[in-house]
């Protein structure tokens, strides 16, 4: 059984929400209020600070089409 298979008789909070942009790409995520916001997880915070530091140190030299 898949991890997110709907069980008979069980109310599931997850809903499928396919989104499409101008190029016609669809997302496949199943929206669920059970997914926690990990924005304050120590690892996520540390990674974000390291990423910002990397960018400050190394810049964006060589990056194409910045305006797109």
């Amino acid at each position: 059984m898949s991890n997110f298979e709907i069980k008979k008789g069980v109310i599931m909070p997850a809903v499928k929400k396919a989104t499409v942009n101008e190029k016609g790409y669809y997302g496949n995520a199943i929206v669920s209020d059970k997914v926690k916001d990990h924005g304050n997880d120590p690892f996520v915070v540390k990674k974000l600070e390291e990423a910002k530091a990397f960018l400050r140190k190394n810049g964006l030299n060589g990056l194409p089409d910045l305006k797109k």
């Binding site: 991890n3 997302g27 995520a29 199943i30 669920s32 997880d41 974000l48 990423a51 190394n58």
Partner: protein
């Protein structure tokens, strides 16, 4: 991109994603979090790792070795579709916590390059500049953007 991937969940803001890796080590919960890291140009950081039991927090200290690297990477790549559908087509920054981990990411990108390159521009940072991804170069970090 037509790669085998795991089904995955998103929160209502489409900046947090969770899925389960299935393999010899069992079911391992994985998490992806996109965080704004730069405004001009707009760049989001991608943090990815296992969601540890008990703490319910993302961490990448453990090497899972669940024999599904490509499927996990394909799932993470798919979350970029959902995220950018909702936040705009911006650059996504990714790097490993260690050089070895970054090398693992590079091996995964190389392994799936035929499919990834259809939908994504991938740049690697090496020798002081961002360059178009090549499989035989060791990069310090990656920037990914949808075509």
């Amino acid at each position: 991109m037509n790669l085998e991937r795991y089904p995955y969940l998103a929160n209502n803001n489409f900046n947090n994603y969770e899925f389960y890796s299935d393999g010899p080590k069992g079911r391992i919960k994985k998490g992806v979090r996109f965080s704004l890291m730069n405004n001009e140009p707009v760049i989001y950081n991608l943090a990815f790792g296992d969601i540890t039991d008990g703490t319910d927090m993302i961490d990448d200290a453990v090497v899972s070795n669940n024999n599904d690297r490509d499927r996990v990477l394909a799932t993470v790549a798919n979350t970029i579709f959902d995220f950018t559908n909702n936040y705009g087509n911006h650059y996504i920054f990714a790097t490993g916590s260690t050089p070895a981990r970054t090398r693992l990411y590079q091996m995964g990108i190389t392994s799936l390059w035929n499919e990834i390159s259809i939908d994504f521009v991938v740049l690697g940072f090496e020798d002081g500049s961002w360059q178009a991804f090549q499989s035989n170069v060791n990069y310090e970090a990656f920037l990914v953007k949808r075509k």
